[in-house]
Symmetry: C2
Subunit: 236 residues, 2 copies
DNA sequence: CGGGGGGTTGAGATGTCTCAAGGGGTGTGG
DNA sequence: CCACACCCCTTGAGACATCTCAACCCCCCG
């Protein structure tokens, strides 16, 4: 999710290289698409991995569930990511051939379906595509590591601020329109989703958003958020 | 790093498929090795990515540093992983062609060097190798996500317990000797390393270890740790 | 009109951090 | 061979951030 980095456009590409856009050799492949309604799951944990998905429009959250350390323990659950257009879903399932998390649409969304059975041979044929796929997976590792870093080191206010900066930056990146910077947009997820993602309670998220508003960093109206002062947001 | 799962051997493979062992087609490739002294870095963040490394013996920690959300902020630093024999290092650098973290040897160690310039063509030739590489990268994504999950949802005691279980399990896995279960071993890292990894202060790690000892879950003598009662450790 | 989901805010409980002191080890230089 | 310094670890006590519990609001939908 690529928090805590400046919005330089160049670095953007690191986090969300998309699988088909730069597949110069194989771009014409007619991968099918699928529409997912808000609240529905694109896939669920445990299902066999059939395809990877690139978000075309809309937004998803991925939710991981792990059993407690042992048997009858409280299972832990957490939102592990939000996924905007041009980002790829399903990468965590490659190792076990089963999905490791649920992917749930936060709004009506469209994905491009890339069956793994087709993808691997393709990557063997086209070096650019192979490199692209490896880069995407590597970026996902970095993304997850940064999430861990944030959860391990940042206080609540910083987490929320970093989340907002990251989300806006990624939204900008998902709009092909070069270099635009959105200042005002509607978050597709609840406070509880944000909290789960950031390792905070929803009340804490709400408080921190209110605080950021009081500080003049953002404008707030329910899920409508406007970035007023990036410096204040980023600073500290 | 694959915390919070039972020690079933089958699931083990998910986390540390090794790059060469199962490369049935290309196993004979004479990748060179390199020895790293304790405290020395195998690579540092920002260096161009030349190779991936498989740990042959010893142990490494990877340390990520990120600038604060903004300019002159406190940079955040965290241990993002510990790496035992048969595990692969450097995967996070594939996306940028630069290493994203430092890899530091916790004891004198030997790695197998796999240059990326050789690896990619090889993977295009051998489907098994390609699949293997993808699986390793995917497993790394899962590993990082689980770390994030742990940091986001578990209290200190559980984190430390999960860390110990995971470390012992991985140690067992790194010993080819089938199905052995180590009960007593020497941690190669400091309390501060563990704390950084778990998102805790070193004092908290120390306290939780003492507490686990009082509870009869482990035996403790400095870095020497013995698992006395896995049930207590795992149980909440 | 009633119910439910989402959001905000307050006040007390609590887990972890911070600060501080002290106890081994180990390596080095006198 | 001793003395000292340094690193690592342990433990305590108070500070503080976040969680927990609770009340209330708004809005949408049936």
């Amino acid at each position: 999710m690529e928090l805590s980095r400046d919005p330089a456009a160049a670095s953007r590409r690191v986090v969300a290289p998309t699988l088909h856009v730069r597949l110069t050799d194989a771009d014409a492949i007619p991968f099918p698409t699928r529409t997912i309604e808000r609240g529905d799951a694109l896939y669920c944990a445990g299902e066999p991995l059939r395809s990877l998905y690139t978000v075309q429009s809309g937004c998803f959250k991925t939710v991981a569930t792990f059993p407690g350390t042992d048997d009858a323990n409280t299972p832990h659950t957490q939102v592990t990511g939000f996924h905007l257009p041009n980002e790829t879903l399903g990468l965590d399932g490659v190792c076990t051939a089963r999905h490791e998390s649920d992917a749930v649409a936060l709004e009506a969304s469209v994905v491009r379906i890339m069956p793994v059975g087709i993808l691997e041979p393709l990557c063997r044929e086209y070096a650019a595509m192979q490199h692209e796929l490896l880069a995407i997976m590597s970026a996902e590792i970095v993304r997850a590591s940064r999430l861990a870093l944030m959860l391990g080191t940042m206080p609540a206010r910083e987490r929320v601020a970093a989340f907002l900066l990251d989300f806006f930056e990624r939204f900008d990146a998902s709009m092909a329109s070069s270099g635009e910077q959105a200042t005002d947009l509607l978050l597709p997820m609840t406070r509880a989703d944000i909290g789960s993602y950031l390792g905070l309670e929803l009340e804490t998220v709400s408080r921190m958003l209110s605080k950021l508003q009081r500080e003049g960093a953002i404008g707030l109206n329910g899920r409508q958020v406007r970035i007023v002062d990036r410096a204040i947001l980023a600073h500290n």
